[in-house]
């Protein structure tokens, strides 16, 4: 069993806008590309050109169909990665202390040197956000690009997670969700951002912004004909419409 810090100075995390995510997977490969070469072991691929390719990804996008009773069916694209929970069950279940939550910013990480690859944390995570790397035998997960966000070798504007930097629709936001005045906290407040499966008590840091209501009755009132064209004929219509110039 591993203890969580009693308090974190910040709660860094992501706010993901489900109203805007088109499901393009840009965040998926930007994440794979960055994290393949920096924090810990590379993200390996098994059988990459074969019958059943499988590799390690720290972030995946799923698409779900929603079928409201009173509106056409919809598709919701749902990016999934570690939520950096306050009460992270993946940390407390870890037998070696390899999984830990940082006191300074709340990021949940795996110390790969101490990871024995037992997989308990993946079992404990209700979000399916951890993946065992088949080549390295260690648990991989979203690091919130801890090696980018403080990285003095990067220009300041690039010190954000790779998925946020690359997202073409701007559906991903990064910041301190512990600070109610931060841009991300404000966004969550404005848009009704919510926790994923709050009843589990994991207190996730990441928030999702719900899709806006779709297929609403339109607001503009229907157009009224200028006059009864069948009665007046085309000439009547022409006179009326050009009288407006």
């Amino acid at each position: 069993m591993t203890q969580l810090p009693t308090h974190t100075q910040k709660k860094l995390g992501l706010v993901i806008d489900l109203d805007t995510c088109v499901g393009c997977h840009a965040c998926v490969t930007a994440c794979k590309g960055w994290n393949d070469q920096t924090y810990g072991a590379p993200l390996s691929d098994q059988n990459p050109y074969g019958s059943d390719p499988s590799g390690t990804f720290l972030n995946r996008v799923h698409s779900y169909q929603v079928q409201p009773d009173d509106a056409p069916a919809q598709i919701i694209n749902f990016p999934r990665s570690c939520l950096h929970c306050d009460d992270a069950p993946c940390v407390t279940v870890c037998p070696t202390g390899a999984s830990y939550k940082r006191a300074e910013d709340g990021i949940v990480l795996v110390n790969e040197d101490a990871c024995i690859g037992c997989g308990l944390c993946a079992w404990a995570c209700p979000y399916g956000a951890r993946e065992m790397d088949a080549d390295a035998g260690v648990m991989k997960k979203c690091t919130l690009c801890v090696d980018r966000i403080y990285n003095e070798n990067l220009p300041e504007e690039d010190r954000e997670p790779a998925c946020v930097r690359t997202c073409p629709t701007g559906a991903r936001h990064f910041g301190d969700l512990g600070d109610p005045d931060s841009a991300v906290s404000q966004l969550v407040a404005q848009r009704g951002g919510y926790d994923l499966m709050p009843d589990l008590g994991t207190k996730p840091t990441n928030k999702y912004l719900p899709p806006r209501k779709k297929d609403r009755p339109q607001e503009a009132s229907l157009l009224a004909p200028l006059l009864d064209i069948q009665a007046t004929g085309f000439a009547g219509w022409l006179d009326r419409v050009l009288g407006k110039i």
């Binding site: 840009a26 490969t29 930007a30 074969g50 598709i75 090696d147």
Partner: protein, 918 residues
């Protein structure tokens, strides 16, 4: 265990070096920062300074790192040693390969240049490839637009002087209502996604009109799940509603379009003695030139019996057959919903007007204190254009934009330099019937009438693809999808050498794929191949490789120079002209050469004009040298930036340091549009003057939008029997209908043979693979490695389908057996699948048991390149009758449930792996 944190270095070294170049994972031309460690590519991210993507990057872009190490890369020139289609090759040297190519081409150049057909599947180097083909003297050249979206491009050019994507884009910063028609999942990848993000950020509304609700349509605030092929019917009905209510921009129509021009008895517009279009001046009641200073064109005028275009159009679309109630069943959208959409368009356009405080002066000399606009914008692509009524549908959409006054006004749609450019500022098609020597001009262009058709003296088509013939008079991008079928049939004639670049014609780029393979391998009575020689250039072991006799292996996009040129498809934005380069950020580790450099080498060996100097020696060392020193007109070359002494833009002598300056600047150059020139570009003096200064054209060319299309009317008149050049009898009725000078809708041609095939079948590329050359990418195939056929709820339930089921899908052309899945967010009469996931066994460096090769499939087998015979003994191309665009989406099928299988049908014998050993 108590809380414990290990030491962590928060600032690891990122890379040794960043090289900034242009992506080519699709056709969007985003800027990328390529990070290198120890000389190898370690990470790719978007370039924040780049005008196209401003730092963001799509899934393909970041996955490009796997493209340059893919096992499917070809590694040396190959010469066929077994039967064509067997994949039996031997490696040869470049000297041998080029000598062989020249030995085939030179005799043709000297005796029958039309027997070389040169078609390229990609068009980012079209200004070079077309120049080469002009020099060779063959009429048979085009790029891939014919099977892509030429309906969209041509309809836009003929109507407003530009179309979507390449030519212009929504005013993302000001638009309040954005309507997407028939746009595949990831078309115009990052720019549209960034635009949608902007709209969402400020609460603007997005409406999707598409049978399939995925991708951009999934985030649309409202979705119109239209029946395929009926978009034109819907658009004309929206026009009906707007006219009926008088919700149209009359001053815009009067000033900037040919709505006030007068239609003469011959259907052409009245002109003055100087040839200028006439309008009736409301101030005098007398005819005046359209561009006379201070003229106030009268939309309601009648002059000596000739009525204005405005009256013709209003009368046509006000007719009851365009009412929502009359079209609802065919469109698959209820009449109240159609009326609601019309109301939303009118509300955004006329109740939410935008005014920008910027004075400007129009071409008549009238000064305007502000720029006033109507914040409705549209975008559309292949979903509406890949039908046999696609040209007219795209015209209808432009008419809708025009009636709302939303083209080139704030909040609407904006051109990207060098556009706007009307059809009559483009070249006409050039051929050299049965003669040797270079063509006098480019192959592709915009005919003004029958006199510009590419016909031989006997009236038969001059081109192997029959472009610019009576079958499809305005085929501005050629018909690449007809080349193999026509060459095989010897119709209109036989060719000798087919020369292809990056075009998978033996697989997903051809209709009727299995038959195409047969045509490529067919032999005549003498035992010779009907298409005697095939040369192909590709970087990867695609399906087409096995069907060529000589392979010229290309580099990947990170190993060569490229030029994203103002002469071709630049990277302009509405507020800036821009062009860009690629450069070798890594060196090839194989015996491969960039295709453009190979083409320049071949050009020199064949002594083509422009490729050799006065002594006959090669003029250019390679493509980089060509980009720097080639001049198309004096002072105008492939790149506009840093010309002359390094300080000249647009025009200037070649600058030997030009490429270095591009590299220093991140691989691109921009010239910004002056503030007073930002909107109303076709009519804005400041813009016209700036465009001349930049070298886009040589004198100001203001013009009116062509609501009434005179070129179309000229072809229609010919079909009615007027004029010297007459169409074949069998085509008259079709031409009379299709060449209507006002937008119309008619049922897709496929419908005629579709009795018993009640379901529409579509394809689109997935988000992470759109326009992507090579879905064998190790990361991307983990995201999209399978392509079930998606069935709507109605069909799923009617046939009793269950998870894991398969279906037999039958069209008039054939059948396939494929895995299916249920999808609710889909038009109830439509099925669809991801295109080009299916691969042939042995290709693309994939194992033979890869899901792409076992369960993956193509709909192409169901689509014939020819329409069924209609009782006249003739079979016409399955293409739009105006432009020849491949009518992929006219496909109709029927579905039957079958037992689950291990492999999709049809299956083909595996090809040998021709890629690098992995």
């Amino acid at each position: 265990m108590t809380h414990h944190q290990p030491h962590l270095d928060p600032s690891p070294r990122v890379s040794d070096e960043i090289r900034r170049t242009t992506c080519y994972m699709c056709a969007c031309r985003c800027g990328i920062n390529v990070h290198l460690k120890s000389g190898k590519v370690s990470y790719i991210e978007g370039n924040r300074d780049h005008p196209v993507n401003k730092g963001v990057l799509c899934a393909k872009g970041a996955a490009g790192i796997k493209q340059i190490t893919a096992p499917s890369r070809l590694h040396a020139p190959l010469k066929r040693v077994g039967p064509r289609g067997s994949g039996a090759f031997e490696e040869i040297s470049w000297d041998e390969a080029l000598a062989l190519a020249v030995s085939w081409m030179k005799p043709l150049q000297d005796t029958a240049p039309e027997k070389l057909a040169f078609f390229t599947g990609r068009d980012q180097s079209q200004s070079l490839t077309s120049f080469w083909a002009q020099g060779f003297g063959t009429p048979n050249y085009a790029a891939h637009g014919g099977f892509c979206s030429v309906n969209m491009a041509a309809a836009g050019i003929y109507t407003i002087g530009g179309a979507f994507w390449e030519f212009g884009q929504p005013d993302w910063d000001h638009t309040k209502l954005f309507v997407l028609f028939g746009v595949a999942e990831d078309h115009d990848s990052n720019p549209i996604k960034m635009g949608i993000g902007k709209l969402k950020g400020r609460g603007a509304k997005v409406i999707g009109v598409n049978p399939i609700r995925t991708g951009y349509n999934a985030v649309a605030d409202d979705w119109y799940g239209i029946t395929p092929g009926t978009d034109g019917l819907l658009i004309l009905s929206l026009i009906h509603c707007l006219l009926e209510a008088g919700k149209i921009d009359l001053p815009y129509l009067a000033q900037w379009t040919n709505a006030p021009c007068l239609v003469g008895g011959d259907g052409l517009l009245l002109r003055g003695e100087d040839g200028k279009l006439l309008v009736v001046d409301a101030a005098t009641g007398q005819p005046a030139a359209f561009d006379a200073p201070g003229v106030q064109p009268d939309l309601g005028a009648v002059w000596q019996g000739s009525r204005t275009v405005f009256q013709h159009l209003a009368e046509r679309y006000l007719a009851p057959d365009n009412a929502p109630e009359a079209v609802a069943d065919r469109v698959g959208i209820t009449a109240p919903r159609i009326r609601a959409l019309a109301a939303e368009l009118a509300h955004a356009a006329f109740d939410q007007t935008i005014t920008i405080d910027q004075p400007w002066t129009d071409f008549r000399g009238t000064q305007h204190a502000t720029m006033v606009g109507r914040p409705v914008s549209f975008h559309a692509m292949r979903g509406i254009s890949a039908h046999s009524n696609g040209f007219q549908t795209a015209r209808a959409l432009h008419l809708l934009q025009i009636l709302l006054g939303t083209v080139e006004t704030p909040g609407g749609y904006r051109f990207k330099p060098p556009y706007p450019k009307p059809f009559d500022a483009h070249p006409v098609p050039h051929i050299m019937p049965r003669e040797c020597g270079p063509l006098a001009g480019p192959h592709l262009g915009y005919p003004r009438g029958p006199e510009h058709l590419a016909l031989l003296e006997d009236g038969t088509p001059a081109r192997i693809d029959k472009a610019f013939s009576w079958e499809n008079p305005l085929s501005a991008h050629g018909l690449m999808h007809m080349v193999i079928a026509n060459a095989h049939a010897g119709d209109p004639y036989r060719i000798d050498t087919l020369f292809l670049y990056m075009a998978n014609m033996a697989w997903n780029s051809s209709m009727n794929t299995a038959a195409t393979m047969d045509m490529l391998t067919a032999k005549d009575d003498a035992g010779e191949y009907v298409i005697p020689r095939i040369i192909y250039s590709d970087a990867y072991a695609s399906e087409m490789v096995a069907y060529a006799d000589l392979i010229l292996p290309d580099t990947t996009y990170m190993e060569r120079h490229d030029c994203i040129s103002m002469l071709d498809r630049p990277i302009s934005e509405p507020d800036a002209a821009g062009d860009a380069i690629r450069w070798p950020v890594v060196e090839p580790d194989r015996d491969v050469r960039g295709f453009q450099s190979v083409l320049i080498d071949l050009g020199a060996r064949l002594a083509l004009p422009g490729f050799v100097d006065a002594e006959g020696a090669p003029k250019f060392k390679d493509y980089a040298d060509y980009i720097t020193r080639h001049e198309r007109r004096a002072g105008v070359g492939p790149l506009m930036g840093w010309r002359g002494d390094g300080n000249q833009t647009g025009r200037g002598a070649p600058n030997p340091d030009q490429l270095d300056r591009y590299i220093e600047n991140g691989g691109f150059f921009q010239a910004h549009v002056p503030d007073a020139a930002r909107y109303f570009k076709p009519w804005n003096r400041a813009y016209q003057d700036w465009a001349v200064e930049m070298g886009f054209y040589d004198r100001p060319q203001p013009y009116l939008f062509s609501i009434w299309s005179e070129p179309m009317r000229r072809f229609q008149a010919a079909a009615e029997g007027h004029g010297d050049r007459q169409p074949p009898q069998a085509l008259r009725a079709r031409l009379k209908q299709a060449m209507d000078p006002l937008p119309i809708w008619y049922p897709p041609f496929g419908d005629a043979a579709a009795a018993g095939y009640p379901v529409h079948a579509l394809t689109q590329r997935p988000m992470a693979m759109y326009h992507s050359w090579g879905s064998q990418n190790a990361w991307l195939r983990q995201i999209h490695g399978r392509n079930p056929l998606y069935l709507p709820t109605r069909i799923w339930e009617e046939h009793g389908f269950a998870a894991g089921d398969w279906a037999r899908v039958t069209s008039p052309n054939g059948e396939i057996v494929v895995p299916v899945e249920h999808m609710a967010a889909l038009n109830p009469h439509t099925v669809w699948t991801w295109n080009a996931i299916g691969k042939r066994k042995g290709t693309w460096g994939l194992d033979a048991d890869a899901p792409e090769a076992t369960k993956g499939f193509l709909l192409n087998h169901l689509i014939s390149e020819l329409l069924p015979e209609q009782g006249d003994g003739l079979r016409w191309s399955n293409s739009d009758p105006v432009t020849g665009q491949a009518a992929w989406f006219d496909l109709r099928v029927r579905i039957e449930r079958v037992d689950a299988r291990d492999e999709a049908l049809p299956a083909f014998h595996p090809l040998p792996d021709l890629g690098e050993p992995s």
